[in-house]
């Protein structure tokens, strides 16, 4: 195979008016062969995105090429004339950004944006481009492919937008595709679907690609060749097999270590008995909540329906589900940010007021909410000392020297140097900010911390460090956690109990090892099998599983009657499931499932999937059969 792209000694720096330039990329070499997918992996700050953009002769504002060459089919993009560069971009090399939501222009129709570059570069006429786009929509398995192009970006879902961006990149049949973390922001179920689509079209189009990510498991599925980066330098590169199965370089090993193994029972550590762990810390009883005006116990938009759950002292309860299933809402209701329409939240034996305004200072202190994005959760204009010191002052009435000492103590607790007290959030890295974010909640000396996706925005290594931290905190302070995430592996490693939410209902809950071992609720099963494993060929295998086909083909539909999972359920009993709300029964002590099938049936189905077929065909429309067949 001939070299499509040759990167040699690439250097990129951030020039400074005063002092020497900061080196971002320090001499990087790698090649991309035609039709090959090369993955650049590393943490944020490793320069992977900067390098990938280099192949479009582009640097983010404030950065400059300072050396080396990037040859596309022999001609160096760094020395091109502006006109050539413009022709290069979108035509010969196409870019897929991480967040499609931000990258699509909200004011233009999808179709205009998808076809734009192809038409501008005179590769094809508008009509040809439109036809080509529709063809790609079909290939990417987008719903309503013939008309989706006329919609505006805000009118389609995140996963669809991500695929539409793929269409945008591919429409001009570029030689090289640059995918920058294209699935990081997505739910597992969506991610697998997008991955599948990408892989399919890349194969069909035969175009080469640079795939930028920090997620080895994903890389294992899509890449042929892997380049491991750390702070602007290549640490190790080789074929997928080499890197995944026989990594040599310590840094690569470390990445592997941090990367998720598929969620299995027994990954979590045993509870220490330092603290009382038998009494309920917080209890949610028959709670229904939602947004909009509440009319006799029913909100305009119902998000959560009769939720019953509890968190024991010192326990970690993982709440999982796809985005939109109401997991964050659950936490907000408990925190008093959203008063429930029905039901009670009971803490230490008394019912909490619905709205935080009406709760006692004591109650406010006991429950602490930890936001997902440290960037928006920390006031950029306050010193760390104030961010942490304020709750200390409020809830522990410590001021002056005592306050400073306490802040220092907390900083140590979250493994940050004491000097950070005098810094502003903007001066810290993502992981450090997240630790401050946790520290602020800790400073209140809470009984329970509600952590909303605190690791989702972080790189695998940083994330795993944060989880380690949480574990230590739990052991040290005996605080309980409600850990909200869409990442099963993390939950498997951290939680004591799991609550599986689907479309605002709890479909399964119980001790982590119980929930993660058969029999599974069909939805739990879908989630588990959607988590990418660091195993070449995993994606294909998984896609062959029939329940994946249907589960992934459909989106969440919030229904008032019947089982909400009906339309995605491979074992749905048509006539029953869509009509009757599923009964909730206790499999083992503390392990509940809501399903029309009893435990035995479910287990049987687990053993020999053929049985599935009967309920399965009903649940699945014809046009999907084809895909399943392949």
């Amino acid at each position: 195979m001939s070299e499509l792209l040759e990167v040699r000694g690439l250097r990129i720096e951030a020039p400074k008016k005063d002092g020497p330039a900061i080196q971002i990329v320090k001499g990087v070499d790698f090649d991309v062969k035609a039709g090959e997918v090369v993955a650049l992996i590393g943490e944020s700050g490793s320069g992977k995105t900067t390098i990938s953009l280099g192949s479009l002769a582009y640097t983010k504002p404030g950065l400059e090429f300072s050396g080396g060459s990037i040859k596309l089919k022999g001609d160096d993009v760094l020395t091109m004339e502006p006109s050539e560069v413009r022709n290069l971009r979108g035509n010969r090399v196409a870019y897929l950004a991480q967040s499609a939501a931000a990258t699509f222009n909200p004011a233009l129709t999808i179709n205009e944006q998808v076809t734009e570059s192809a038409v501008l570069h005179g590769i094809m006429t508008q009509d040809e481009a439109d036809a080509r786009a529709v063809e790609l929509y079909h290939a990417l398995e987008l719903p309503d492919p013939d008309r989706i192009g006329f919609r505006y970006p805000h009118q389609v879902s995140g996963g669809q937008l991500q695929r539409l961006m793929a269409a945008m990149a591919l429409v001009g049949r570029p030689d090289l595709l640059v995918l920058d973390e294209p699935t990081t922001a997505l739910d597992v179920t969506t991610q697998i679907e997008v991955l599948k689509a990408f892989k399919k079209v890349i194969r069909e189009e035969g175009s080469a690609a640079i795939y930028v990510t920090h997620d080895l498991a994903v890389v294992a599925q899509v890449a042929d060749h892997i380049v491991v980066l750390y702070s602007g330098e290549v640490q190790e590169q080789g074929s997928v097999d080499q890197i995944i199965n026989h990594a040599k370089h310590p840094y690569t090993k470390r990445l592997m270590a941090a990367a998720h193994a598929g969620p299995k029972p027994g990954m979590g550590d045993k509870l220490t008995d330092k603290h009382d762990q038998d009494t309920d810390n917080i209890q949610v009883k028959n709670m229904t909540a939602g947004y909009g005006e509440i009319v006799d116990g029913k909100p305009a938009i119902t998000v959560l329906r009769d939720i019953n759950m509890s968190v024991k002292n010192g326990h970690v309860v993982g709440v999982i589900g796809e985005s939109g299933c109401g997991k964050s809402t659950l936490a907000r209701v408990i925190a008093g940010l959203l008063p429930p329409a029905q039901g009670d939240i009971i803490m230490d034996g008394h019912t909490l007021k619905g709205l935080y305004k009406n709760r006692s200072k004591k109650d406010l202190q006991k429950i602490q909410f930890v936001y997902q994005m440290a960037d928006t959760a920390l006031n950029p204009k306050q010193l760390i000392s104030e961010i942490i010191g304020r709750p200390v002052e409020m809830f522990q009435n410590l001021s002056g020297q005592k306050n400073r000492e306490k802040v220092a103590e907390i900083l140590r607790l979250v493994e940050l140097p004491v000097e950070f007290a005098e810094r502003y959030p903007s001066e810290l890295s993502g992981g450090q900010k997240q630790r401050i974010n946790l520290a602020r909640s800790l400073a209140a000396m809470p009984e329970i911390m509600l952590c909303d996706e605190v690791t989702s925005a972080l790189d695998s290594i940083v994330a795993s460090n944060v989880v380690k931290l949480l574990k230590r905190l739990r052991d040290l302070t005996g605080v309980s956690f409600m850990f909200i995430t869409h990442d099963l592996s993390t939950v498997a490693a951290f939680a004591d109990e799991i609550v599986v939410l689907y479309a605002g209902r709890i479909v399964e809950q119980g001790p982590v090892d119980e929930v993660l071992s058969p029999p599974f609720h069909p939805y739990t099963r879908l989630l588990i099998s959607s988590v990418p494993e660091m195993r070449i060929g995993w994606l294909e295998e998984t896609m062959k599983k029939r329940e994946m086909a249907v589960g992934i083909a459909r989106g969440v539909e919030i229904t008032d009657v019947g089982c909400p999972f009906y339309n995605r359920c491979p074992i749905a009993i048509s006539g029953t499931c869509e009509r009757v709300t599923a009964p909730t029964y206790e499999l083992k002590p503390g392990h509940f499932i809501s399903c029309h099938h009893d435990a035995k049936t479910i287990l049987d189905i687990e053993r020999n999937p053929q049985q599935v077929l009967h309920g399965f065909e009903k649940a699945i429309p014809d046009e999907k059969i084809a895909i399943i067949a392949e």
């Binding site: 582009y58 950004a97 990258t103 222009n105 909200p106 004011a107 233009l108 501008l120």
Partner: protein
């Protein structure tokens, strides 16, 4: 979307009412009584009394307000306390003049400023941008009566190309009218455009940092298309708002230009009203101005809604 528009309109009405109260109270606390001012130096107590009685100035304030508001609602603007002419007749012609002035200025300056603003935004920190920035800055940075007088000296007195005063009359043809009002037109176009150019530029640069602009660059889209198609569409909201405010200014705020060019417009009429303590006149003008402002703002809001798909057709 209808709901939004209706909401805007309702808010507008409330505003109008608040203005009516503000203006009425505001004007009636002015020192020096109408009679005294109208009758001039040589008035005697009797003549004054006679005058007050004749004009209902002896009634309590709230009574006057009630009567007036009633009139307003039924479209009766009342009688000018000075001169005794009906206010509608006083306003009638001037309203036309003002609208003509504002209209022509708008037609010319709005496209002009938007285009120049776009150009400036297209080449930021280049010489063309600097020239535009500095030019517009200089124009909005000197008092407008200075600009106006300067223009008169150049075009009317020295060159004698244009009349120094805007002498327009109904029987003039369009062209005559335009020539007659050339000076105020030019002055206003300069003053107003300068503002709008700057705002357009700012508005565009504001959205220039969004990821979708970077994406369009990475798609190899040409500079001018990026600005016109990608950036401008998203900046319409704020830009339209600025345009609306400037138009409102053209209707109500151009006292100085009207004075210097003896252009019979509403703004000057209102100032005269204040000076002659002609309260009904002042109030009527105030309501007209506020009305125009409210309408323009509503229009700009609607435009903003239309330019934004999210608001235009939600999911």
């Amino acid at each position: 979307m209808q709901r939004m528009v209706i909401q805007r309109i309702f808010i507008g009405l409330v505003t109008l009412w608040v203005v009516s109260v503000l203006v009425f109270v505001g004007t009636s606390v002015l020192p020096g009584d109408v009679a005294q001012i109208v009758m001039g130096q040589s008035a005697t107590p009797e003549t004054l009394a006679a005058y007050r009685a004749a004009n209902g100035l002896d009634q309590p304030l709230y009574m006057q307000y009630a009567t007036w508001l009633g009139g307003m609602v039924t479209g009766d603007l009342g009688i000018s306390k000075a001169g005794g002419a009906s206010i509608s007749s006083l306003i009638g012609g001037r309203f036309g003049n003002t609208m003509f002035l504002a209209g022509v200025v708008a037609i010319i300056s709005v496209p002009l400023s938007v285009i120049l603003g776009l150009i400036a935004a297209m080449y930021p920190a280049t010489w063309i941008d600097r020239v535009l920035t500095f030019g517009t800055l200089s124009l909005i940075s000197v008092p407008d009566f200075f600009i106006a007088t300067f223009m008169v000296l150049i075009f009317a007195v020295n060159l004698g190309w244009l009349p120094a005063i805007a002498h327009i009359s109904p029987e003039d043809t369009m062209m005559e009218t335009i020539r007659a009002s050339a000076m105020p037109l030019i002055t206003l176009i300069i003053v107003v455009s300068a503002q709008m150019i700057r705002m357009t530029r700012a508005g565009i640069l504001n959205v220039m940092n969004s990821p979708y602009i970077e994406m369009s660059i990475l798609k190899g889209v040409r500079r001018n298309r990026i600005i016109v198609r990608h950036a401008f569409l998203n900046a319409i909201g704020p830009i339209v708002n600025v345009v609306a405010l400037n138009l409102a200014y053209l209707v109500s705020g151009v006292v100085i230009v009207e004075t210097i060019f003896a252009y019979p417009g509403l703004a000057k009429l209102m100032i005269d009203g204040v000076q002659t303590r002609d309260l009904p006149l002042v109030q009527a003008c105030a309501m007209i101005f506020c009305g125009t402002y409210v309408i323009l703002i509503i229009l700009s809001d609607v435009a903003a809604i239309l330019s934004n798909p999210r608001l235009r057709n939600p999911k």
